[in-house]
């Protein structure tokens, strides 16, 4: 057989005599050259070292662990975590060790996602696009606010998109699509693992209020609710699915809609798509029902967009594959059966754009 040169990947283990090294970041690479002066240890000593190090870390980090447990979903894991970490956190605080961590601002970190408001598209000027217009027959000029339904590059439509992780799946493509028109300034603030039932974890009403002040939107698109099917924390706790839970959740949705529409902005509320897990699907159907009811009762009305059929079957059931606007079959759901693929986000985004166009907004 002819001798072969391993062109694509001649990566067999280096011969024993070959020099070996590690790269400085850790691994990787090659083992240190002899003589090896590192001491070896019996496994019981190694176990003791590891346990001791874990203990030191636990003592120093317990207050943060306790905080993380407090804001985690209600359930056995949360209860056990709080019971276990609570005494250690108390000890850490009494020894003043918690200052070491709090000095870093660690406990102030926010949930993953966009980690803040990201606005893209044509610049919005401080005058908020009011334009000077000469009124015939008048000797003075008057300021006329631009018509948001006829946006231009100089006076772009200001859109704010907020939501949870599913909202992020939709919001990313929507922001991109809107901004690429050149006449929309689209701001996105989406946070993973958030919702309206756990303000102790992430306070969406406060966040939206802040976003409204910053972005001064003319249209607000909301897609939130995937994490909301859980108990309200008390005391007393309000179990999910109880009549009191439904009433409280409706109040929170209504409050959120009021904040979104407070400056006269059009509010578009995008419903959760069908879910693969039957239990979660039923929960999201309940959430959607409350959202739709509150949207209809809101003043001025909130435009509720159901995604049951755009991201589901003709009957509104779960499917991973739909035919998009271009006639192509696309996979719209990630394997977890909950989130949207980029194609799924695009389908939902196109639905929002079409809805805005249907409401008279001239978005190219």
């Amino acid at each position: 057989m002819a001798e072969r040169e391993f062109v694509m990947a001649d990566v067999a283990d280096p011969p024993a005599a070959a020099p070996q090294r590690e790269d400085a970041t850790g691994s990787n690479g090659r083992r240190p050259p002899p003589p090896d002066r590192r001491a070896r240890a019996r496994w019981t000593r190694v176990l003791g070292l590891g346990a001791g190090a874990f203990g030191v870390w636990l003592l120093l980090f317990a207050p943060t662990l306790q905080h993380n447990a407090q804001v985690s979903p209600v359930g056995t894991r949360r209860t056990v975590s709080l019971d276990l970490v609570g005494p250690i956190a108390a000890l850490s605080r009494s020894l003043q060790l918690s200052h070491l961590v709090s000095a870093t601002g660690r406990s102030n970190r926010l949930p993953g996602g966009t980690e803040g408001l990201i606005a893209v598209g044509p610049a919005v000027h401080d005058s908020r696009n009011a334009r000077q217009q000469e009124v015939p027959g008048a000797t003075t000029t008057t300021t006329v606010p631009p018509n948001p339904k006829e946006p231009t590059a100089a006076a772009p439509l200001r859109v704010l998109i907020v939501g949870d992780s599913v909202g992020l799946d939709m919001g990313g493509p929507l922001q991109s699509d809107l901004a690429s028109t050149g006449v929309v300034n689209a701001a996105l603030d989406a946070r993973e693992s958030t919702g309206l039932t756990r303000p102790d974890y992430f306070n969406w009403p406060a966040e939206l209020t802040s976003d409204m002040r910053t972005a001064q939107p003319q249209v607000v698109v909301v897609m939130i609710g995937a994490n909301d099917a859980q108990d309200f924390l008390g005391p007393p706790d309000v179990p999910y699915g109880s009549p009191r839970w439904n009433g409280l959740y409706a109040q929170r949705v209504s409050q959120f809609m009021q904040i979104a529409g407070s400056s006269g902005a059009l509010v578009v509320w995008v419903g959760m798509p069908p879910m693969q897990n039957p239990g979660l699907n039923a929960e999201m159907a309940d959430v959607n029902t409350i959202d739709a009811q509150q949207a209809a009762q809101a003043t001025p009305p909130v435009h509720f967009l159901s995604t049951d059929k755009s991201l589901g079957t003709a009957q509104g059931g779960y499917t991973a594959f739909v035919t998009d606007a271009g006639g192509q079959i696309v996979n719209v759901r990630t394997p977890d059966g909950t989130h949207l693929t980029p194609s799924g986000g695009q389908v939902a985004a196109q639905q929002v754009v079409a809805a805005l166009q249907g409401l008279g907004y001239h978005i190219p």
């Binding site: 040169e5 590690e22 850790g26 070896r40 980090f61 943060t64 901004a179």
Partner: protein, 475 residues
């Protein structure tokens, strides 16, 4: 179960203790390791354990059939059947959705409707890794380079939790002998193991997470809205992110294995110091590279045939290597880019050899130019690797040419320091790492405990809330 979690820390404390307590009792040790590994794998979904079990049964049976077949033809058939079965399992879970959607769209385009039923098949974590290990076992037994393993040995080999989720892709010849013999519990190379684990955690939890959130995710989410410097830093940043993510995982895996008395093959070797693409693939995901070489490239003919055949073999190997990472056109393009790059390098070397040209002087300028160019080419590939679609990849690349003169608020001094610092760290003399490890091992126990505890605190303090799964879990 993710490595950088408290769940895993508790799990490993139990596994470590069980490992050494049962070390003298081979049968019990193997059973306990299998049980622990299945608990580790089934933590996110017990149904996946059935798949791991099925793969174990198919590959083990394949090895036995290959061994007992009376003729060479029978051995070959047994091997081919086993490999086909293993690839069939992998293909169903990993590629059915991709293939069915594309076939249906083509058929739909020519008016033939949807002939292939569409199913969303959940992708089990790590299926590519343990399938490749299973295939290598069957083929090695067929080639006679490996004796068939005993059932429990093989089950430990395939499911051993330190390598299970994202490699390294350990060969039977490397791991099975270690499983068979008793390990020395009195001589654990703990300073190297702790160093690897801490370095891996730091790379994954701090560096990779920071770079991802600071530049990579924002730019890839909406490339059209970012400047050229931001697009360039996003590509460089992803090079850092995926290196820290994957090599971080490997560091932790190798470190954990060391604590259990096992040695795994190295998987990374300062890859961004590579001077050409061939060199890069000798340094990046080395256990996959050698797998592709030994079980795909060489069986295809390697470079034993004509130049055209060699180029064909390189392209097939790298495109399939790309597809191994995921069922998407972006991975196909990424693999094709690697193939084209390696083919061009091969042809250039061949051309010089044939023309009898003397070797080019290896000055530092030439070396650094080669490194920089190789890194840029690798980053070009990473853009496709990370993009969720081809249009997204081209949008990012397009901004490199069209996004000049715009503000670049995401390119901060801290980001630049992190990106360049991580890249330059690959050039730090390795002897210094070895000295650090030796120095650590000479310290008093209290100092060692304090150092490890504070190092852990630093990592968890500067990392984000919650840790994203390793990128390679989904492969």
């Amino acid at each position: 179960m993710l490595f950088p979690t408290i769940d895993f820390a508790i799990f490993f404390a139990v596994a470590f203790t069980v490992n050494w307590l049962l070390n003298p009792y081979a049968g019990w040790w193997k059973l306990s390791m299998i049980g622990l590994s299945y608990v580790f794998y089934g933590w996110v979904g017990w149904s996946y354990c059935l798949l791991l079990l099925a793969t174990t049964v198919v590959a083990f049976a394949g090895g036995q059939l290959v061994t007992i077949a009376p003729t060479q033809r029978g051995r070959r058939l047994a091997m081919a059947f086993s490999v086909a079965a293993l690839l069939g399992i992998l293909g169903w879970f990993k590629y059915y959705g991709f293939v069915s959607v594309n076939v249906d769209n083509v058929l739909h385009g020519v008016g033939m409707g949807q002939a292939v039923p569409l199913f969303q098949v959940g992708l089990p974590i790590a299926i590519s890794f343990f399938t490749f290990m299973a295939i290598s076992y069957v083929v090695d037994v067929y080639r006679g380079t490996l004796h068939p393993a005993r059932p429990l040995d093989f089950a430990v080999y395939l499911s051993f939790f330190p390598h299970l989720l994202a490699g390294p892709i350990v060969r039977g010849g490397e791991l099975l002998p270690q499983i068979r013999r008793r390990r020395d519990g009195d001589a654990i190379d703990y300073s190297r193991a702790f160093w690897l684990i801490l370095a891996g955690l730091f790379k994954k939890v701090v560096i990779s997470s920071y770079v991802a959130s600071a530049i990579v995710t924002p730019v890839f989410t909406s490339p059209g809205q970012h400047s050229a410097p931001e697009a360039i830093f996003a590509a460089w940043g992803y090079a850092v992110q995926i290196y820290c993510d994957f090599s971080g995982y490997t560091d932790i895996a190798i470190g954990l294995a060391l604590l259990l008395g096992f040695r795994f093959p190295i998987n990374f070797n300062a890859p961004y110091t590579a001077r050409n693409l061939q060199d890069f693939w000798r340094r990046w995901h080395m256990t996959l590279s050698r797998w592709l070489r030994d079980y795909l490239y060489i069986p295809l003919g390697g470079n034993a045939g004509s130049e055209a055949q060699t180029i064909r073999n390189i392209m097939i190997t790298m495109v399939l290597g790309g597809l191994w990472h995921g069922a998407a056109w972006t991975f196909v393009i990424w693999g094709a880019l690697q193939g084209v790059g390696q083919s061009v390098g091969h042809l250039r070397r061949l051309s010089r050899t044939r023309r009898g040209l003397p070797a080019v002087a290896e000055g530092p300028v030439r070396i650094w130019v080669q490194r920089v160019l190789t890194f840029q080419f690798v980053c070009l590939g990473w853009v496709f690797f990370n993009a969720s679609s081809l249009s997204q990849a081209f949008a990012v690349l397009g901004r490199v040419f069209t996004g000049w003169g715009e503000a670049s608020p995401l390119v901060t001094p801290l980001l630049a320091l992190t990106v360049f610092g991580t890249l330059l760290a690959q050039f730090v003399p390795p002897i210094s790492v070895s000295r650090l490890q030796a120095s650590f091992s000479r310290q008093r126990t209290a100092i060692q405990v304090g150092f490890l505890g504070v190092a852990l605190l630093g990592i968890t303090t500067f990392g984000p809330v919650g840790v994203a799964p390793f990128i390679y879990y989904r492969f």
